[in-house]
């Protein structure tokens, strides 16, 4: 395991999110507390409808009506300062999304635009977030080119690019950008960058794939392209929302390996949302288990699999089919969140339910070093 630094990159504090629907108020998130440390892979596990995806959407601050964030803070480390994302305006968030935070979704085909080629779609991210850097590289190469030819001063082309860099919003620049071929070198630079990222994703023959449309790609390939789009600006946190659920096991193994390798190399963090405990065991450093809108257990992956403490985590681990054993299932079903059970939301399915569980929601308490559990069974200790 890589050494985990004790600094939080993302801190979600007491996040409450509700959906105001015609059937009633859905209490989707009920006080979520979550830390993503620097340079780690955190797995977020839970059954369907427990709020995993909503948590990841809230982190990107893309919750739309009828959903509403009622309470809480989402703090992201930004130049050694913690910034509350919920307090920021859209312009700031637009910069954050894609370059600091980015997200990979479950269904890559739905996420890719069918009428643009792979190259265009990856290029869009670059042009939006990395325009300045790219223009500078173009200028740099122009300057060295002229120096080698022994020319002094600057050409018309250089002046155009300088103008694009310095006064991007002026009227003249906008007119200049409309002139055909005026951005030729910039486009060339973008194309190089796209091919580079596609090569990093281990896509065979990236030149050809870059010119393909999404329908020409296989499922695994489409997911690689989506990951490429997410990682092209080197975000500090990648949120992966069940990226391998619809893929075959062999392709899944390839993608998991890819994500893990990229995370280790770029020293960024990954929030990996999944329902598959096998996947969690394979790639995560820490795990957070979620049930009906709140985190019930957080621990190191080794501790969680060796010593699960919350009754729900125990049941979840036992429901993994293993040969030679009878299938164990968790009795009952996930409660509806319109009128969730009072107190601990797991109490009516829990084998250890006590009187207090029906009345009071247990807080996350540290039972061992860095092992947090929200259960009244462990209320006595510490």
């Amino acid at each position: 395991m890589t050494t985990v630094q004790e600094e939080a990159l993302l801190r979600i504090e007491d996040l409450v999110l509700r959906f105001y629907t015609y059937e009633g108020i859905v209490e989707a998130l009920d006080g979520v507390n979550l830390n993503v440390l620097e340079n780690e892979t955190l797995g977020l596990v839970g059954e369907t409808g427990c709020g995993k995806s909503v948590t990841s959407l809230a982190t990107m601050v893309v919750v739309v009506s009828p959903g509403k964030i009622e309470k809480g803070r989402i703090l992201l480390k930004n130049r050694d300062k913690m910034t509350n994302l919920l307090k920021q305006d859209d312009a700031f968030l637009r910069i954050i999304r894609g370059s600091y935070l980015s997200m990979v979704f479950q269904e890559p085909r739905a996420y890719l635009n069918p009428v643009y080629t792979v190259r265009d779609q990856i290029a869009e991210v670059l042009v939006v977030h990395k325009r300045k850097e790219l223009l500078q590289t173009v200028l740099e190469s122009l300057r060295t080119g002229r120096k080698e030819e022994g020319l002094k001063g600057s050409s018309f082309e250089m002046k155009t690019y300088e103008r694009m860099l310095e006064k991007p919003n002026s009227f003249v620049t906008k007119i200049l950008c409309k002139v055909p071929r005026s951005q030729r070198r910039l486009n060339e630079e973008v194309r190089k960058e796209v091919i580079r990222i596609l090569m990093e994703m281990e896509i065979p023959d990236p030149d050809r794939v870059a010119e393909m449309y999404p329908h020409e790609l296989s499922g695994g390939m489409a997911q690689r392209v989506v990951i490429a789009m997410a990682l092209v600006c080197n975000p500090t946190l990648l949120i992966a929302d069940e990226p391998t659920t619809n893929l075959d096991v062999t392709i899944q193994a390839q993608i998991l390996n890819l994500v893990k390798r990229l995370q280790e190399r770029s020293k960024s963090s990954v929030l990996y949302v999944t329902h598959d405990l096998g996947v969690v065991a394979q790639i995560c450093d820490r795990v957070a288990v979620m049930y009906a809108g709140s985190i019930v257990e957080t621990a190191n992956v080794f501790d969680l699999f060796k010593k699960p403490s919350h009754p729900y985590t125990k049941a979840l681990l036992e429901s993994i089919p293993r040969p030679g054993k009878e299938f164990k299932s968790i009795p009952g079903t996930v409660p509806g969140l319109i009128d969730p059970p009072k107190g601990c939301r797991f109490h009516d399915r829990c084998a250890y339910a006590m009187e207090i569980c029906r009345k009071m929601k247990p807080p996350l308490t540290e039972i061992e070093k860095k092992h947090f559990v929200a259960c009244h069974l462990y209320g006595g200790k510490k």
Binding site: V249, T250, Q254, Q282, P321, F327
Partner: protein, 350 residues
């Protein structure tokens, strides 16, 4: 034990139409010559990547799709199997074989005969939200096979439905509801009830647990096992979830691009897979144990197109053990002992 199904070189091709006249320009060889048998009262697992022809095979066996070749004998007596094998070797065009096929072969049945056999073979689909009609009440959904087959009428129907619903863990109170009122697990139970109501002998379970959660999955698997004991059912369990197959099946077949590449009893195949594809497939399962992490993905590349499969062994472009012979000759399924069958040139040479 006697065979319930005895497949001989079953084929299903989907035509690709092209040109102005919409003529067949090529075939998608979804199932390309599959030979195996399914014993009575067993659960036969079929695994493979998506697009390898698992579902097509399941549907072809129960004649929801018409095969393009080969035969599927339903409940042939052992002496008939012997006879078929003998005739196929000596004189595959004999009248006797034709006679036997007309008697036992599902692939040539038609009309009333096929209709009668439909009640003996049922299927449960992957996604109950799409396999149940959203405008029909549960009672109508479950009664439909009975009505279509003319098996019961009036109040008798209702009695049968309630009986079967109770068997799958639902009750009379659920009769007058629509599918959308149920959870995923319950919906799948309705689909199972519909399959069971005609008292079939053989059920194709086409990824029945892939659309539900872990905890519900365990409930459904228990249900399948209980029902199998109670009704003496034979299952063909199609899945890409290998851990589930390992727990529920008696024998497992691994499929790759329309061909069976390995077939063996579950324990044997999971402990000792011989075909390089099966090895890679089993090694790709994420093990829920953080102490057993894998460093390298066991298999690179993707499944080639079944329209134009690679010549020779279909796995040769991805196989680590490829030899010259693999590119030319297609390996046959051979017995390597312990009722373990493999189709690989490398294994033969061992």
């Amino acid at each position: 034990m006697s065979s319930l199904l005895y497949l001989r070189g079953l084929k299903k091709y989907y035509p690709i139409l092209g040109g102005i006249l919409k003529r067949t320009v090529a075939d998608v060889r979804a199932v390309d010559g599959v030979t195996f048998n399914i014993e009575k009262n067993e659960c036969f697992g079929l695994v493979g990547e998506s697009g390898c022809g698992k579902t097509t095979l399941g549907k072809t066996i129960i004649r929801l799709l018409n095969p393009n070749g080969g035969s599927a004998y339903f409940k042939p007596p052992p002496e008939v199997i012997e006879e078929i094998e003998k005739i196929e070797k000596s004189d595959p065009r004999s009248r006797r074989l034709r006679h036997l096929r007309e008697q036992y072969d599902l692939a040539v049945f038609h009309g009333a005969r096929l209709r009668f056999l439909r009640r003996k073979m049922q299927i449960v689909y992957q996604d109950p939200t799409t396999s149940l009609d959203p405008r029909m009440l549960v009672k109508d959904i479950v009664a439909e096979p009975l009505v279509a087959q003319g098996l019961s009428r009036g109040s008798e129907t209702k009695k049968k439905i309630v009986e079967i619903l109770e068997k799958v863990g639902l009750s009379e109170t659920h009769l007058y509801r629509y599918p959308h009122e149920f959870s995923g697990g319950q919906r799948q139970r309705i689909a199972v009830a519909r399959a069971l109501v005609t008292q079939p002998e053989f059920i194709v379970l086409d990824e029945p647990t892939s659309s539900v959660d872990v905890s519900v999955r365990a409930q459904l698997l228990n249900l399948f096992q209980d029902l199998q004991k109670e009704f003496n059912l034979t299952y063909m369990f199609v899945s890409h979830d290998l851990s589930v197959v390992e727990c529920i099946s008696h024998r497992v077949a691994v499929m790759y691009l329309g061909k069976i590449v390995e077939l063996a009893p579950t324990e044997e195949i999971f402990r000792n897979p011989l075909h390089p594809y099966a090895k890679a497939l089993f090694a790709s399962i994420p093990i829920p144990d953080p102490t057993k992490r894998k460093e390298q993905p066991p298999l690179l590349g993707e499944v080639p197109s079944p329209v134009n499969p690679p010549p020779g062994c279909r796995f040769n472009p991805r196989c680590p053990l490829t030899m010259d012979v693999c590119r030319k000759v297609e390996p046959k399924l051979i017995d390597v002992g312990h009722s373990h069958f493999v189709a690989c040139h490398a294994v033969k040479s061992l």
